[in-house]
Symmetry: C2
Subunit: 207 residues, 2 copies
């Protein structure tokens, strides 16, 4: 990758803080390679699941086309999987993206929008039953830190988004850059996408 990639992050009321700011922290270590836009229902404050409010840069309707899309999870996803207007927008807006990614229950939103049909994917291990009932012809993988399937990268719960973000940095910018980013934030990067003790802890596989 030679030029800066634009990354669009979808915000909504009840988004999970770390699903967004874990990856943003990682990508923010390589600022000249990534431009980050936060996209909300309207520009301005969006309230996270944990309470703090974050300012969206653009409204859904005015969102710039992005090379990489990231959809977080959080309690707000429960309402949005039934919001046809949102799902239509998400499907349309992401149609030109090189990578469509999610953290945690964000994969439920991708699935509900039809964006995972024919793909392998994973999700949060506590909400796996909920997420994996969505979409058509999605091969849900119960034990995975994250799953890469062509243009769709989906991660497991919350902090797994940082491991996926580092893997994406490695793919786009090389191993050395990814290792530097992990060291800069003193993060113990899990590089093996099959590392997932939380699947067994939640009874999804034998422990």
């Amino acid at each position: 990758m030679d030029e800066a990639s634009s990354i669009g992050i979808v915000l909504f009321d009840g988004f999970e803080l770390l699903d967004v700011f874990g990856p943003v922290e990682i990508l923010g270590q390589i600022r000249d390679r990534f431009r980050i836009d936060l996209i909300g229902q309207s520009a301005g404050p969006v309230t996270s699941a944990q309470g703090p409010q974050v300012l969206a840069d653009h409204a859904y309707d005015d969102a710039p086309a992005c090379d990489i899309v990231l959809v977080p999870g959080g309690i707000g996803t429960r309402r949005l999987v039934e919001d046809e207007a949102f799902l239509r927008w998400l499907s349309g807006w992401t149609s030109g993206a090189r990578y469509v990614t999610s953290v945690c229950t964000g994969s439920g939103l991708l699935a509900a929008a039809g964006l995972l049909d024919g793909y392998r994917a994973t999700s949060n291990k506590r909400a796996f039953g909920w997420a994996s009932a969505l979409g058509h012809d999605v091969e849900w993988v119960p034990q995975a830190r994250w799953v890469e399937d062509r243009t769709r990268w989906t991660s497991s719960g919350v902090s797994a988004g940082m491991d996926m973000a580092l893997a994406l940095v490695e793919r786009l910018c090389g191993e050395e850059t990814a290792l530097k980013a992990a060291d800069a934030v003193e993060y113990d990067w899990h590089r093996d996408p099959s590392w997932d003790p939380f699947a067994a802890k939640n009874g999804l596989v034998l422990g």
Copy 2:
């Protein structure tokens, strides 16, 4: 701890996103035990080191007294260690707190405000020389994920704040609650405060 603790988080332009939202994500898993207030120079938008803007709930001058204070790091600390008015406010505001904590170069701010004099402390490993030149009679610990010394808890860089936050949850709410919080966010908690491969990577100790 039987009643909710109030947690005040100090924001400033150029604060490091994950220093704040890693711990907030952890503490947000136990919402009935913690009330979180974001404190900025004024109430309203504060711009992080990574770009995204977050809304402060209160201005420094109107900040409620808090049981636990958390001071993040980020590039904005470089200016604030020379801001006498800020340091005086920080010293006064934290005087009644049960715990005064920091993530990353936030310990530089605590030290500059005199809040670590006579305490053991650590900081980000890339900025260790900068931080450890601040304060008087501070015993700076080069190899530590975090350091607990009575009322002062200081963590190493960025993601180390999550490990310290979980240790604080363990202290206040018990081991079971802390383990549940780590599992809920699928985080690989480093429970040993002496675990710190980043000290050797940055030449602070022999590798």
